[in-house]
Amino acid sequence: MSAPDATPKRASHRLAETAHQNDSARVKAGMRAFISDFGPTAAIFMEACVHCGQCAEACQFYVETGDPRYTPIHKIEPFKQAYEREAGPFALLFRALGLAPRVTLEELNQWQDLLYDSCNMCGRCSLICPMGIDIADLVEKARHGMFEAGLVPPDYLGAIAEKERSTGSPFEITQEHFRQTLLEIGKKYGVEMHVDEEKADVVPTVSSIDIKMFPASMAAMARVLNHIGVSWSFRTDGFDADNVSLVAGDRKGQRAVTEAIVAAAIHCKAKTLIMPECGHSYTEMRWEAANSVGKRLPFRVLHISEYLAECISDGSLKVNRVSQSCTFNDPCQISRRSGASAAPRAVLSALGADLREMPDGGDMNWCCGGGGGVALIGRAQALRDKAFQIKMRQVEATGADTVYVSCSGCRQTLEHGGKKFQWNKTVGSLLELVSDNLATIERVLP
């Protein structure tokens, strides 16, 4: 685990606040956060479960450990109990007959590792459920409750979520700091950088992991956009899409991050907002942002892989062919959860790469093990390593030497895992691969 600057100096906002609350107040806050965005869909999901246990077979934590506690639907058990008691159609009966006892803070605390350490919110279980329950969605709602009850694993997830809420960036990167970083990157990589332009058709965002660990990816972004020749600009008033708050369960922080980016994009009249190689930030911006700000977004939201595929398709992006065998690791949030698994394949195909699909690849891909904020929980390291075995087997099966990813979270997890288990595979970024193989084209200037 890196992110050296992320050492928590103080407990997260909510944790600090809950320190002065009694248990029942914390539970109450948790429950109300859980049920307060319940609509018919989530309620149907709560009602439909038949306890068939099949979801366990889709979950890498159960598959690799055999521990029944990791059964996905079991992870929301206390919240199910709370729902039946407080918001279900028979809530009155449940309360009157004492069928669902009040959930205690102790119980919630016991469930902390199930809801955080052992769930990537990867959504494989949502695809196996014979009743069609979107369990990943319920886990997300349960995390809202856990956050409000002050039960986010503090080390490091809670700590950096708190920073994100108070500063807009999980690593406390200020606007000025970001501006300087961008300009330095432009200079270092010799690429023309566009920052805070008043008007831009295309606004790219970054993941804070990129700033800390993969600055080349930002250079790649700039180089590709320059190549395509659109009017584009980074916005320092809305750049960090990472949204650690989302995985921590902090809805306020989540909304703050989203609102800043939406406002920045609107400010420069963007037509397209590009999400970086990052998972949860995409689902947030693509599917939740409009609901968070309460209106339809006046611009498109595209993942960088989608944007690349689109530009290749319309001819504005031309790439050289690489003759290389590789495999592609689908980020759960982009592929399975958002239906964009075709885009990276179109890009790799345009590059002429010899793509060898992993078994269980594409929409059924196993999570790298770091998703859903699990990579940010220190104590989850051992569990994460176990789940990582699946990923290694998957990649081994392809025989490819290089794994391309389109998510910095996956990239970081694969690199760390590879190092730890002395794995001879190379991990590469799809964006950087494209940036490195741009065709030199003669643009016909008007």
């Binding site: 159609p89 028979f90 069609g132």
Partner: protein, 219 residues
Amino acid sequence: MTLLDFARGPALYWSVLILIGGLVWRLSGVLFLPFQRNLATPRGGGIEPVYGAISTIFSRMLPHREFWHRTAVGGMLGYAFHIGLLVIVVGGAAHVAVIKSATGLSWTPLPKGIIALVSGMTFTVLIIVLIRRLMHPVLRLLSNFDDYASLVLTIFPVLTGILLAGETFGSFGLLLAIHILSVTALMIWLPFGKLAHTVFVFFGRGALGANFARKGAAK
């Protein structure tokens, strides 16, 4: 009033009302929760969510290929007793007569021998399902009163039906009464426990199918 009169009269009458009233209660209590309009631009707009909802209702009848090898046992057991129950309920001569008297619809029942065979197999499978629920670590962890009650209440009508068809002990009237009462017990429990999945399975799959189709995601 004999036990049979009670079974055929008040027990049947009230259990049907409780079944229907309870299901409507549970469904409306869920469906009338505030519906939030989704403002995100759909990837698959128009009728795609509708298509997704309907197609998922059917496509989830079979697991995705990637899950087969891990869910084969549970899946086949589930299929075995669901199909068995369906065959018994719509194929048994006496059941056809009940359906006809209740709805006016009628069809040719299956031969008694086939129903007997299917009943025996269904009963066996249900017992295996019960044992598996008690043994399998995941199922044992998940199981609560509802799970066992629902399973036992499903086994009872099958068992009493077999005893009735074979006229094994007591009088036909007593066996018939017990059989009908076991069905009424099932009907009374159905709306309140997990047996309500008879309805919610369509809503669950439909909701997920619509949402995922909207996102263009795998269903």
